[in-house]
């Protein structure tokens, strides 16, 4: 891990790997809550499959974060033994799963972001990050296909599905600005060629989601005040509740194996 980041230090890389890992861990957990509750069996299986991919990706990023940090923490230690304020995920991924329309709308916004993020990271000056992204890129492609197809079916479906999906887009919109709010960590890493520029990703994201939302006969929400804070550990009330459930087994039985 020494080859790549001349100006951006390993602290920045650690921070960024937590962001990548926590987005996927928290969203994967939220998605896994659908297991056994999907609207149809095939969809139940689909959501569980995607959740598994996201948690698998999180394991890779958090494992690497632990190596970069060099304090002996592995992926499990980072996932199960950090407090809410230490999590670096976007607030949008921690919101309760809502109804199926809300879940699909959230997946779609995140998938479109992750797709362009992974596309850019494949060219990272950090070879390890680039290699992992080449794998993630292949997976996010079919995640995006899944969520964008559903968004179009729901939007262009019944009056009920249309209204619920429009409601979900409107509700989620104020959480989307955080994806592109670059802080010093992002700027240093982008300058060093380690990560793609968030402004460029935002432009591509906006074009992609506008296209799909229009095909879905839905309206792009009007711009509003954007919430932020997840990247620096300020979260909604929902993360703590989710973590208490996600972490309880590991914390009740530390070191347990099966």
């Amino acid at each position: 891990m020494t080859e790549s980041t001349p100006s951006a230090g390993s602290d920045d890389l650690f921070e960024y790997l937590l962001r990548l890992g926590d987005d996927r861990l928290v969203l994967g957990h939220r998605l896994s809550e659908w297991c056994g509750h999907g609207p149809i069996l095939e969809e139940d299986i689909a959501l569980a499959n995607i959740a598994l991919d996201l948690i698998g990706q999180a394991t890779i990023y958090l494992g690497l974060a632990g190596e970069v940090e060099g304090k002996g923490r592995n992926a499990d230690a980072l996932a199960y033994f950090r407090e809410g304020v230490e999590f670096r995920n976007l607030q949008v991924v921690e919101l309760p799963r809502g109804d199926f329309a809300f879940t699909i709308a959230r997946q779609f916004f995140f998938d479109a972001f992750s797709f362009h993020q992974m596309e850019g990271l494949q060219k990272s000056a950090n070879k390890e990050l680039a290699g992992i992204a080449s794998k993630g890129y292949k997976e996010v492609r079919y995640h995006l296909r899944h969520s964008s197809e559903w968004l179009q079916r729901l939007g262009d479906g019944t009056e009920e599905s249309h209204n619920r999906t429009q409601g979900a887009l409107d509700e989620l919109w104020r959480f989307t600005g955080e994806m592109f709010a670059a802080d010093d960590v992002d700027k240093r890493l982008a300058d060093a060629g380690v990560t793609p520029d968030l402004g460029t990703i935002q432009t591509k994201w906006r074009a992609m989601i506008s296209d799909v939302i229009q095909r879905a006969t839905l309206a792009i929400p009007s711009d509003t005040f954007m919430l932020a804070g997840g990247r620096s550990g300020r979260h909604t009330e929902y993360l703590g509740h989710m973590l208490s459930e996600m972490q309880i087994v590991a914390r009740s039985h530390p070191g347990a194996e099966w």
């Binding site: 299986i45 689909a46 598994l52 996201l54 290699g131 080449s134 964008s148």
Partner: protein
């Protein structure tokens, strides 16, 4: 690359042969070498490192496979066995040989077609053209995709309209 344990046959090829005895726990007709997830083996004294690449990031079979690799090589006399995960180049179903695809078909799983690289625009379009998948039971092309997601990350659920059987399709990925 001398092996101190008396297992003089521990050349790379012989070790690959040894690892070929390990089956994918979720696809018991296919071994881990022909699946393409064993990427490299390096031996130094009584230590060995095996580079593996996961098929999918969240594949739950990887842990079992890792344990199987460690067990097989320790049983072969190695004192230190390290399994290292590599992610680049990413695994692709194109690495499956024709022989492996045949084995899948005989097992009742339709083998993957060649990977197509869809552009971003086709990716988000609702009606995309789908490659016809042949039924592994009767060979009919009159089949439908029921779900792109199946019992494992690597499989999709299809249905044959000719013999009226649901079947697994090993996804092109």
């Amino acid at each position: 690359m001398t092996v101190t344990t008396g297992k003089a046959a521990a050349t790379r090829d012989a070790l690959l042969e040894l690892l070929s005895s390990i089956k994918d726990p979720e696809l018991p007709v296919v071994d881990i070498v022909e699946l393409g997830i064993v990427r490299d083996i390096s031996v130094e004294g009584d230590s060995v490192q095996v580079d593996v690449t996961p098929t999918y990031s969240g594949c739950p079979a990887m842990q079992v496979i890792e344990q199987d690799i460690v067990q097989a090589l320790e049983a072969d006399g190695f004192r230190k066995v390290k399994v290292r995960y590599v992610f680049s180049p990413p695994w692709t179903s194109d690495w499956l040989t024709e022989r492996t695809k045949m084995k899948l078909r005989e097992f009742g799983i339709a083998p993957p077609t060649a990977v197509e690289d869809l552009g971003a625009e086709q990716l988000v379009a609702l009606r995309r053209s789908r490659t016809t998948i042949e039924c592994p039971y009767c060979g009919s092309s009159n089949t439908d995709e029921k779900s792109e997601f199946g019992s494992t990350a690597c499989k999709a659920i299809h249905y044959c309209n000719s013999c009226q059987q649901p079947f697994d399709y090993f996804k092109s990925f």
